[in-house]
Amino acid sequence: MPRNAPSKDIDTSNNERLMRYLQDLHQADHPDPSPEHAASRFHTGRVPNGRQSGNKPRLMLMGQRRSGKSSISGVVFHKLPPSETLYLETTTQISQSSMHSFMDFQIAELPGHIDFFSPDFDQADIFGNIGAVIWIIDAQDQYLDALTQLLNTITYLAQEWPNINVEVFVHKVDGLSEDFKNDTFRDIRQRIQDELSDLGYDNAPVSFHQTSIYDHSIFEAISKVIQKLLPQLPTLESLLNSLCSSCRIQKAYLFDILSKIYIASDTSPQDTTSYEVCSDLIDVVVDVGEIYGWARPPVDGKTGDQRTEFNNHACESMVTMEKKGHKYLYLREMNSYLALVCIMSDDNPMERKVLIDYNVGVFQEALSKVFQWK
């Protein structure tokens, strides 16, 4: 598994880079969504495939000042501990950062105070190559102004860039009581939907999420945002579904190991703790790997040969519970970026390990075809 920290290149001061970035956007071209994907309303499957941008899902964070944009990109893409976001300073320019992983995710922040409609900005440069706009609303604050701005953005995008998904994060819900949280969420969604409907934009691709950087919810929400941009999602989902039924898996996730974003899961219903427990298992495996995965000196001249024999052993992990009737967890590295993590639905893995190994092998092979790995 890769152990290097994600590359960190938030760079607000360097205008040259910013210009290059904006030019990059300009030269990109977009594949048309295939009919299969167009059927799903919000699944655009539109990974912008610019010549220079490669295969990078690009996200744009928007929202009022202090709503939490920099915190989100710090926590999700740079492993910034949530408590350290208290010291983040206001972002003054469009800033972007990227993470080199399974896909080179790119995430840009549009500062709250920038009026991107002004002639100083070329909107095509800003939005031309964006897959999704994530709009952050601070749920602990007054939000009516934010809703007005959000509405303007949605209607603008619906007219000019109808392929861009708008993902509304009702954010900082950690500080709220369960009731208040749900009421706030419902209120925000209702207001936006009513307004859009009045304006005749019922079909605008807008979705809503409840998020906080202090728990797993932000990772889940970002996962869902990114999934919608993957052209391969429907294929991955059906592969995972068939893996689940052949191995009696209750829930299966395909994770990006570094970011702990899951890029697909089977389509059975899930509760949030399923994602959490799987994501936490990745932590255990990566942390233990960091401690013990070092090249030891060869013993008796034997270890040298053995190393070549086992070096390609894909990382695998299994956790069985002591109490009978409890599920067990299974993790298997797919390549150096992706891992399959499953909650198995019975408590005796050993009996069917061969079956699991076989089916996971088949899955892995299908995966390499989908992504054209060598």
């Binding site: 255990v284 013990y292 995965g293 024999e309 070096n311 990382c315 519970m321 109490k323």
Partner: protein, 375 residues
């Protein structure tokens, strides 16, 4: 045979006092280490009224008898006066917690002095661990100097009250640890306390070393299941020298504790009973296995890669459980050793004589040893 060692098989109750000023963080660390709290939960704790007792069973018949003594002036006053002999008699360990942020360090020192004076009176053989706590509140570049400065003062006071130094009737050397509930330093300090208290660490290590040889392990780590505190470890010299994480033992405690909490949340079980039967991680570079060894302990095993070796190790550990179980559970009857089990110990034959010899030798010792690194 085991039955001859009946005296050592009785449970050892070891009394541990947890003291220090009110608000120093005693109950916080107790809740995290022993009750599966996470660091951000401790804000909910109220001040401790009088003394809160908890009992924790460890390896080798060790029963930890923890006294969390509320630190408000009124209570301290009472410990030092009419409860004096009740509190300070037959103490094995005093853990004294200093709040590094305290603005009244001199008053804290005076308080400390009167506590250890009482300790010396009633339990002169007790061991003192001083924890300089809440180190997270000090900027990282000042931590070492702050720690050194504070411990020097405290060492001096300890010495004046009879602890440390050579000579007739001197108490044991005092140990100092900088701690914080926000990182693994807490586990590091408590691991030292546990190691000091485990009565038959020598025997356990002897058995573990044999097991390590049999399964060809890079490293074995024995830890208590509830707290995830390490009891002891056996490491090959190359692992001790070459591994870039000398703090891996307390790191592992923290990792396993977090995992336990995650599983508890998912299954809806209380964290105390969210135990896994087995955890395995196999990679091209190493293989890692955690499994239960005795009623209260788990064994983490780090092995070279290879399925055959891995499977043999799993079997050998299962077979060794019985021998370790004898250390854990007091039984009156003489123990029948499973012949098949012995035969299955493949790579090296297991020597019961050596084991008994170790047990006998150990009865004369008194769990006096303090942690060291093994090769």
């Amino acid at each position: 045979m085991m039955s001859t060692g009946s005296s050592s098989k009785r449970q050892k109750q070891r009394k541990v006092l947890l003291m220090g000023k009110s608000g120093a963080g005693k109950s916080s660390m107790r809740s995290i280490v022993f009750s599966n709290y996470v660091a951000k939960d401790v804000r909910r704790l109220g001040a401790t009224i009088d003394v809160e007792h908890s009992n924790i069973r460890f390896m080798g018949n060790l029963m930890l008898n923890l006294w969390d003594c509320g630190g408000q002036d009124g209570f301290t006053e009472s410990y030092l006066t009419h409860q004096r002999s009740h509190v300070f008699a037959s103490v094995a360990v005093l853990i004294f917690v200093f709040d590094v942020e305290s603005r009244e360090f001199n008053a804290d020192l005076i308080n400390y002095a009167s506590i250890i004076r009482a300790l010396y009176e009633h339990s002169p053989g007790a061991k003192i661990f001083v924890l300089i706590h809440k180190m997270d509140l000090i900027a990282s570049q000042h931590r070492t100097s702050m720690f050194n400065e504070r411990s020097e003062h405290i060492r001096q006071v300890s010495h004046d009250e009879g602890f440390g130094g050579k000579g007739e009737g001197r108490g044991k050397e005092v140990e100092f640890w900088g701690t914080s509930i926000w990182d693994q330093s807490l586990y590091k300090a408590w691991t030292r306390v546990i190691y000091f208290l485990v009565p038959n660490a020598g025997v356990i290590e002897g058995l573990l070393r044999q097991l390590a040889d049999v399964v060809e392990a890079h490293e074995l780590i024995l830890y208590e299941r509830t707290t995830c505190l390490m009891v002891t470890h056996i490491s090959r010299p190359y692992e001790t020298e070459g591994n870039k994480h000398p703090d891996r033992f307390e790191k592992l405690s923290a990792i396993l504790k977090a995992h336990k909490q995650s599983v508890a949340k998912h299954t809806g079980m209380p964290a105390g009973s969210a135990n896994f039967a087995e955890l395995q991680i196999k990679t091209g570079e190493f293989m890692f296995l955690i499994t239960r060894l005795t009623e209260n302990t788990n064994l983490a095993v780090v092995l070279p890669s290879g399925e055959a070796r891995y499977n043999a190790a799993r079997i050998n550990i299962a077979l060794a459980r019985e021998q370790f179980g004898e250390l854990d559970i007091p039984t009156g009857k003489s123990v029948q050793r499973d012949r098949a089990a012995e035969a299955a110990m493949t790579s090296r034959s297991y020597d019961p004589k050596m084991y008994e010899e170790m047990m006998r030798r150990h009865q004369d010792e008194d769990g006096e040893r303090v942690g060291s690194s093994y090769g």
